[in-house]
Each structure stands twice: as structure tokens, then as C-alpha cells.
Symmetry: C2
Subunit: 581 residues, 2 copies
């Protein structure tokens, strides 16, 4: 808000400039604000990529509205479920929910999903400036478009380690024409039916599917809903682009024809600036990049995003960088930049490794950890189904949310045996996975409160020869330090020595690259039970999840609105019906 | 069971006949049985009409398994919801649920829908021999295939007023390729988007969509799931066909090439037998007909069903009457009977009027009623949406089930003002409906317990010129006497004189014919709150519903499993969390 006002001031006539700046100061010094939002969730037909698809909308919008607030503000969202027969739960991705664990919005963990006709009120403080997002955390509902951006500006009077003249929000997503139900049915069928690559990539909910040979009632290339997004810039000014990836499946590269990007923020943490032509971004990540509109204003420029890490079958997604005075958002006559090769893994690993904390915003990690958990990521077969496992355990969510079960001391809700903290060190990560002893479990990791925990994500070959995928792992309730990435199998004695303890970036989502490892450290300092999972929607569905509990005894009792499913029904009072007054 | 055994006995060699009949007697004299069923509800891809569609299945089957029991048996169905993100509720259509109101399975009335991962246990007694069915009673879920037949044979030692050598069950339905979510989104959109006619008619879940020009992965004419159903008969024997219609939209005619049918049962009540070539059957109705395999056994015969009342855009559905020894189920070389003209309304009205109680099974109605409720059926516009109304009220279900609200004396759950018992008698039923003062309400009719109530359903013109539809009205919790049908506007003083009080059939579902009226009488002798609604799924969704309450104070307190939604969450105890043992 302040930045936008400043930009407006710059554009003002000199005679009103002083008045304008006073206005900005008044806004800047305002107290923390309570944003009280009411969202009605419904199904709507959308033509996001010109193809007609039933989408989940918030107040009619897919993607949903952006939440814009300042550090310290309180966000209240009254979510009214009007989905006819389908429940809903919304997660506020990147918001740590300190003191508001019951608003994490994670079905099976912090709440029962909200039934049609019911309302759930989420309330939390956005306690750290940065770029975040929200999305459904229920079944595969996110795939249907229930997501959007959360933009948090610094607290009044505080500044960021970079400046800019204006900003734009850019939500990247991939788009399937099949429904979450169709996808989940395929993914859980015996034999396994892979859902294939998405049909389109969307930039702020707009893509271009090829409507040739399709009836105009099904696919309409001229539908205004699929007009390319365009982002207007004034020559010479510098812009912050807040970029979030909410893809269901795809890892992406993002680029702007003729413009370098300087990465300055990642997942709400300031990054030691570095320039790049291609921003790699994985599902669940956010970045801010700065661009300067320093090219000829006689034309517009392509913005593109393309699939990496998987062999693409999805066309490049595109939008327009619209130079003033080219207000019309015309397509450039140039060829859109195709982005890097999908299998240029080294380039992706290099970018991951180059993301460090900005020098004045380094939060030093504890020098040692109290516990190290190794997580071997494998694809397995379990009871005929193809699943994903950690240390041979494919996770399933219990019918009763974990945090409620823990508060109520219900030991029959989930497997009380601890989840395995390591795997057979003789495992060959280059062999085709054939873990015939994989199991399905609801078990969790219980961590000492305030202890420091290292997690070493270890990649491996899938069930396909010479194939190892990229998994973006997302932790709820915490940021973690990214201590390092490496190839091959992690060696605790030697690789641990190379951890970056000087200026590691903190993030909430981090990629695990093919045949490699990623090392994280976090303080278990947020009471509750928090899910840590691959942010690829099909992988999450198929068990690529673990849970970390610590200090849950300090969490307040569960609110009524979080209950209604599973064993929580046993808490419904059986007193006799009241009599008429 | 007994009939099938008898049939087997007849086919037995003489030397084992005596032994066989002893076995039948043993079975016949068995005590009432408890049938404990476990049903897992899931989405599955089915090719019911050769076209691939995501369907709701019970233990993998769409339609679901037949429930076969004897009068007095107890049915327990443990319904496990594995629908990923969608809730479920199952209604036992025609079962009056005497003493088991909480098992009626009606979302918004007797229960909160059951969430994914949860189990709901329905328990009820099948207290009357006859043909019934079950189906989803939640949103538009029935459209996705969640339905099946309930067959109740007479109590041991009791006989029916007809005999037969064998029997077959025939579930008729229509089939859309769109999902319930797509349909509901269209139907509730502004402007109104009509969903069109179904793509296929199914006989026991099998139809034939024209796969020409479609990819074999989408439509496969040779998929075994869409092989025509065939019903095997032995020459000279007589068969009972139990026929149920679970269509979403369509009124049907049903016929068997070269064979007359004798109607002997309707909705679980014995009918004074009459012969017909075409059985008209409306959604929510069941009939038993007798046929004798008295045609040449040198070939098979077509069974067909076709749309009536609406101008058809759906091909005739077909199955095979397979004469022994023609075991292969070969298609006859003849042309399938097309059925009667869709707009032969007189023929349909004549058949409705000809259905009377079998002479030895007449249950005489009370000679007078304590109350008469007139219900004018109109299509209206309400807040830009196209809806259906009764006396200008388009019904909406509350978020908290009625019966729970009544038991808890929650007066804020639904509109406490009584629903209107009549309409403006000056209303011209032939004019295009333009009831600009239509309202939406949750109001109900509260009836004196054990009182006798007449309901006069009055049809009218829709919002389309010269159009009046057929509405099959279904009452939960009761059978009613069908006192008469008539054309034009019902005249209380003259038409009431013509009521059939001598041998009216009792039914639970009855058609209201175009521009006509239908008169019912029932005893409000089943404590609870019961829904009475048009059984056309889109009409139900759009408000064509009323509620009758009587004696709900006699109903037991709501079980925990029926709760979890709306205001029932306020009953969740807020006691402090338990401590570890």
C-alpha cells in the first residue's frame, strides 16, 4: 500500500507532492489493521485457458482474490462453503500461525473440512513481511483452482533491503481439464493410471489452450477470461514482481523477454540479490524479483513460463510486459522466449544453491542439531497401488485430525509407533525402486519442543528406470534453514561438514533435486502438529507426507468449528432434547 | 428366496423333489433375519453406456447391489464414505422407517451428510413385502449412479395375491455424461442453463451411447460394462419383473416385444391386476409385472424403455428377453418396439387412473380428512435464478437438519412461520408463470399427529408457453392413498366428490400430470419430519420440496452419527482436553 502510494506520489504534479507524501506518512504510521473478509466458495464454469472447466471460485473468482496487508495486521477470513456436496479447508501457505495453530487449514491435521452450508472463520496475524499464498488443503481440491496470493508489506516505518517504484503479483499455476475426482480416481486405481501432464500453464489464471477442432461451447479462444495477463510498466522504473507457484504438478521456469530479474525475496525471506534470466520456481515457492523497464518502450515484451524437470507436454504459458504507452497489451511480434531446456538439471541445482540470506537479514541457525531425520523418497507399490514413501512408509491421513487427537489423548486415532528416522543405508538410490516391504501408516515424528532438527531429504530412482523426480517439500508452521544441496547419497560425516551455517536462506518450501539430497534445519518452536509434504498434489495424495509434533500440549483446546468428523463426533453431547420455553 | 428355491425345485428331477420342498419349507419358516451389510462408497470410472464416466459406486458396483430380504427382517448397512472430498447420505425409498426415523438418510432433514472417512450405520426393518429402492439423498449425487433395488419377499408362511415361477429385478435410469457438480452449476447459474436431456437410458446400469467419432479411450462400444442386460426365461413359465425407476429427469415407458405385462404391485402395494403393453413409470416408482414366456422360444425379444412426457432427445434403452435355450443373449433381428408417443398424455393419465388396490388388500382410507393442503406447482424466477415453487415458495434446505432442530428446539434453524396451505384461487394455470413474488423459504407444514391430511397437487404452465411438465411426487415415511387424478384446476367442492374411497391404491410416489391435479390422503401417523418432493433431481435441487412434521416430540434424541454439520457443532463438548494416563 505504501509503495503504491509512493509511486502515485512520484507521478504527481510537484504542487501536490508534499500533500501526497504527508498522506503516505499517515498511512505508514497507522496501527495494525484487522482485515475481515468473507469468502463464498462455489463451483463456477471458467474458461481460464479458453477451455470450459468447472472451477472452484472464491466470490466468483478463480484464482481467488489477493490478500494485501501489512506486517502485524490480523486477517479474518469467513469461509462459507457453497460447494453443494464437497467440503473445503484453506491453508495459509507460509504463515506460521504462531499462536493460531487451529487456523492452519489443513484437513486431517488441524481441522475437519468444512461442510457445505457451514462457515469456518480463519484468524491469524501476518507477522512477517513477504509474499505468501493460500490454497485448498483438502483432497485434490487445489487442482480445481482454489488458491491465491497473500502480500504482506513491512510494518509502518520499516523498510526492505531493496527499493522499487511499483509492483505486480503473478500467480503461476498449471491447469488440467479433468476434475480432482477424476484425477484422484485414476491415481488410486489398480493398476495405476497416471494423469499425464497438464493441459495449460496459467499466469494469473490465464492460459491459451488450442481450441482448434473443438466446439466453441467447449473451447472459445476469444473468451475474455483467457485473454493474456498483462503487466504494465513505465519506462525507466523498477518493479517488484511477486511470483508464486501453485502448480499441481509442474516445476516451472519464468522469464521476461529482454529483461534480467534480480531475486530479492524467497518465501517471505530476503535473499542476497542475484540476477538471472530464468527464475526456477517449484510448487509452493514464492519469490520476489526486481526488474527495471530499461528496454525500448516502442513495443511490449513476452513473459513466459515453461515446464522443467519433467519432459513437457504442456505449451509454454505466456503474458505480456506492457510498456507505457503501449496500453493495449498487444502481443509482441517476437518469438516468446521458450525458457531453458527441461532437463538442464545442473542449471536448476545451481540456482537453488545460489539462494542465500541477504546480508543484513541473516538469521543464524543453531550450530548443531539435536536430531537428524533422514527421509528416503521412493515410489513404491502398496497393495497393488502405486504410492510414494518416506523410509518405506506411505503416509495416510487419519479420519480424525491429528492435533485434536493429541489434545484429547485419543491414542486410537493414529499409529502411536514413531515414524522411522532413517532407512537402510545400503539402499541403492540409482536402482529401480522395488520396496516390496513398503507400508501405509499414520505415524508421526514427535520432537522435543524447542529442539533443533535436521532433515535430510534423500532422492532416489522412481519405479521407472533412469528416472528421479523433483519434489518441492513444504513445511507448515515454520521456516527452515536450507543448509545445502548435493548429488548422490548424503554422507552424514562428510556432507554435514559442508553445511552452510553462515548465511543460509530460510524458506518454507525447498526442492529435492533428482538423485540428490537437500538438508534443512529447523527449530521445533511452534507448538502443534505440522505437516511436511511434497507440494505436488498427486504425490501428496499418494502418501508423500510426514508429520512433526512438538509442544502440542501447549496448544489451546480445539474450537468447535474445527470438529465434526471422525472421532470428534463422540464429543457431541447426548443430553436430552431441550423442551419448549 | 423362497420363490427361487421353488423354481429350482420345479426343475429338479422327481426323485429329489421331495427333499427340495422340505428345504424350501425350512427356509420359509426361518425367523426374521438381520442382514449386516458393509458398503464402501467410492468414485470409479464406469462405461455404463460405453462412454467413460466417473460414477459413484458401492463396493465397486454402479448401480449398487440389490438388497434382498424378507418381511420383518432387519437391514443394517454400514456406509463407509471413501469419496475423497464429497459427503454422502442414502435414503431407503419406500421404507417408512417406523421407529427408525434417524435412518431415513435425507440430508438436511434427518441427518448431516456423512463425511469422507466416516461411517454411517443405517438400521431399519423392512416391514412390508414389496419392491423398494435406495439412492443418494444428497445434492445431486443420485445422478452419479448411487442407487439400487430393495426386494422384500413376504414373511414366511404368507403369500402374495399372485404366483410366478421366477423373477427378475430391473432398475431403470437415465444417464448424463456430465457430473452432479456440472449439472448443479448450470441449474443454479444466472441466467439459467438447462442441462438438456440425458445421453442414455440404462437398464440395470447398461446402455448404448453412440461411440462413432469418439476416441476409444472415451467411448468403447465393446466394453463389457455396456453389454445389454439380458433376462432369461424358460418357455411357458411366468415371471415377476420388479421394475424401479431411478431416473434423474426422465419419465419412461417400458415394454417387452410380443409380451403383455400384468401389473400386480406398485410401490410395495398390491394392485388389482391389469394388463398393458406399455408400463409407464416415473422416477421414484416401483412396479411388479407378471409376464408369461408364451412366445416362440426360437428367438429372443427386445425389452425397451423410452422417454415420455418430454420430447425425447435420448435414444431408446434396450435389453434382451432371453428365451431358453437361447442362452447367448443374442439381439433379436426384429426392430425394437419404440414405445408409445412421448406426448400421448391421455394414455399415461389413463394408466395412472387404472391403478387400484387389489381386492383382498384394500386398506380403506379415512372417509374424511382433517386438513387439505393445496400445492400449486409453478416454475418461477427468484433473485434471477429459475426455481420451482409450491404456492409461490421455493424450498431451501437448512444447514442444520430439521429433525435435529426440532428435537433441540432450535427455532433459528428454519423459518418458523407455517408454509402456505393454499394459493390464489384466481391463478390461471394455463398462463405462462410469472410469479414475481415468489420467495425462498425453509418453512414447513406442522400436522397434528394422527390427523388425516389431503394434499392436492395442482399443476400449471411453466415459464415456457404451452408447457406443463410431469412431476413424480414422493413422500418419505408414509404411503398415501391416491384418491384421484383430474384435468384443469382442482375444484374442492366438485372434484372432492369424485375421490375414490373404495379401493384407492396406496403408493409413496405419484405423478402429477400436465395441467392436471392429483389428490392424495395420508395419516400423519409416523412421528418425525418427512420430506415430500418432486423426484426429478433438478426440480428437487431447485426447490420443489415441502416438509411435513408431526409428532416429532416422540422421536428419540438424535444419534451422534447424524450430526456434525450446521448448528449441531454447538453440541460438541468444550471440556478441557484429557490428560495422559
Amino acid at each position: 500500500m505504501t509503495d503504491e502510494l509512493l509511486l502515485q506520489c512520484r507521478k504527481s504534479q510537484a504542487m501536490v507532492l508534499t500533500l501526497c507524501l504527508i498522506g503516505v506518512l499517515l498511512v505508514s504510521s497507522a496501527e495494525a489493521v484487522v482485515h475481515n473478509l468473507t469468502w463464498e466458495i462455489s463451483y463456477q464454469y471458467k474458461y481460464l485457458d479458453c477451455y470450459k472447466k468447472l472451477s472452484v471460485a472464491i466470490n466468483g473468482m478463480t484464482p481467488g482474490p489477493e490478500i494485501s496487508a501489512a506486517e502485524g495486521d490480523t486477517i479474518i477470513v469467513n469461509v462459507i462453503n457453497n460447494l453443494l456436496m464437497e467440503n473445503v479447508a484453506i491453508h495459509w501457505h507460509g504463515i506460521r500461525q504462531i499462536g493460531s495453530q487451529w487456523s492452519d487449514g489443513t484437513d486431517g491435521v488441524t481441522q475437519c473440512a468444512t461442510m457445505p452450508g457451514d462457515t469456518f472463520t480463519y484468524q491469524f496475524v501476518v507477522d512477517k513481511a513477504g509474499t505468501y499464498m493460500y490454497h485448498s488443503h483438502y483432497g485434490m481440491q487445489r487442482e480445481a483452482g482454489l488458491y491465491g496470493m497473500i502480500k504482506v508489506s513491512p510494518r509502518a516505518g520499516e523498510s526492505e533491503p531493496f527499493t522499487y517504484d511499483g509492483e505486480h503479483s503473478i500467480v503461476l499455476s498449471d491447469w488440467y481439464h479433468s476434475s480432482p475426482y477424476e484425477q484422484a480416481t485414476n491415481l488410486t486405481s489398480i493398476p495405476y493410471q497416471w494423469i499425464g501432464e497438464p493441459q495449460s500453464l496459467l499466469i494469473n489464471g490465464r492460459g491459451k489452450y488450442d481450441c482448434a477442432n473443438l466446439d466453441a461451447t467447449v473451447c472459445n479462444a476469444t473468451n475474455p477470461e483467457c485473454l493474456r495477463s498483462n503487466f504494465t510498466v513505465s519506462p525507466g522504473l523498477t518493479y517488484r514482481l511477486r511470483i508464486a507457484s501453485l502448480t499441481s504438478l509442474s516445476a516451472l521456469s519464468f522469464q521476461i523477454e529482454g529483461h534480467n530479474m534480480t531475486v530479492v525475496e524467497a518465501d517471505g525471506n530476503y535473499v542476497a540479490p542475484f540476477a538471472t534470466q530464468n527464475l526456477y520456481i517449484y510448487s509452493g515457492e514464492t519469490y520476489s524479483v526486481l526488474i527495471t523497464a530499461n528496454q525500448s518502450s516502442s513495443r511490449n515484451y513476452w513473459i513466459t513460463t515453461n515446464v522443467v524437470s519433467r519432459k513437457p507436454a504442456t505449451p509454454v504459458g505466456s503474458a505480456i510486459l506492457n510498456y507505457i504507452p503501449n496500453h493495449s497489451g498487444d502481443d509482441p511480434s517476437t518469438i516468446p522466449p521458450p525458457g531453458p531446456l527441461w532437463n538442464d538439471t545442473e542449471s536448476r541445482k545451481a540456482q537453488s544453491a545460489s539462494i542465500k540470506a541477504e546480508k543484513d537479514h541473516i538469521q543464524s541457525p543453531p550450530s548443531t542439531s539435536d536430531k537428524t531425520i533422514l527421509l528416503l523418497n521412493t515410489q513404491n507399490t502398496f497393495q497393488g497401488r502405486t504410492v510414494w514413501s518416506l523410509n518405506n512408509v506411505s503416509h495416510s491421513l487419519p479420519d480424525t485430525p491429528y492435533l485434536i487427537a493429541l489434545k484429547k489423548n485419543w491414542t486410537d486415532v493414529f499409529d502411536q509407533a514413531p515414524a522411522p528416522e532413517s532407512y537402510d543405508q545400503g539402499y541403492d538410490i540409482y536402482s529401480v525402486a522395488n520396496n516390496t516391504n513398503a507400508i501405509s501408516s499414520t505415524s508421526i515424528y514427535r520432537l522435543t519442543f524447542n529442539s533443533t532438527v535436521d532433515v535430510i531429504l534423500q532422492n532416489a530412482n522412481t519405479m521407472t528406470k533412469n528416472d528421479s523426480e523433483t519434489h518441492p517439500w513444504h513445511l507448515h508452521g515454520h521456516d527452515f534453514w536450507v543448509l545445502g544441496y548435493g548429488d548422490d547419497k548424503f554422507n552424514l560425516s562428510t556432507d554435514g561438514q559442508k553445511f552452510n551455517l553462515v548465511n543460509p536462506i530460510m524458506k518454507n518450501t525447498v526442492p529435492l533435486h533428482p538423485y540428490g539430497w537437500t538438508a534443512l534445519r529447523f527449530r521445533a518452536d511452534n507448538p502443534g502438529v505440522w505437516i511436511f509434504h511434497c507440494h505436488i498434489e498427486p504425490h501428496f495424495l499418494l502418501g508423500m507426507t510426514v508429520l512433526f509434533e512438538s509442544g502440542s500440549e501447549m496448544v489451546a483446546d480445539p474450537p468447535q468449528q474445527n470438529m465434526g468428523c471422525g472421532k470428534t463426533k463422540s464429543l457431541i453431547m447426548q443430553q436430552p432434547s431441550s423442551v419448549s420455553p
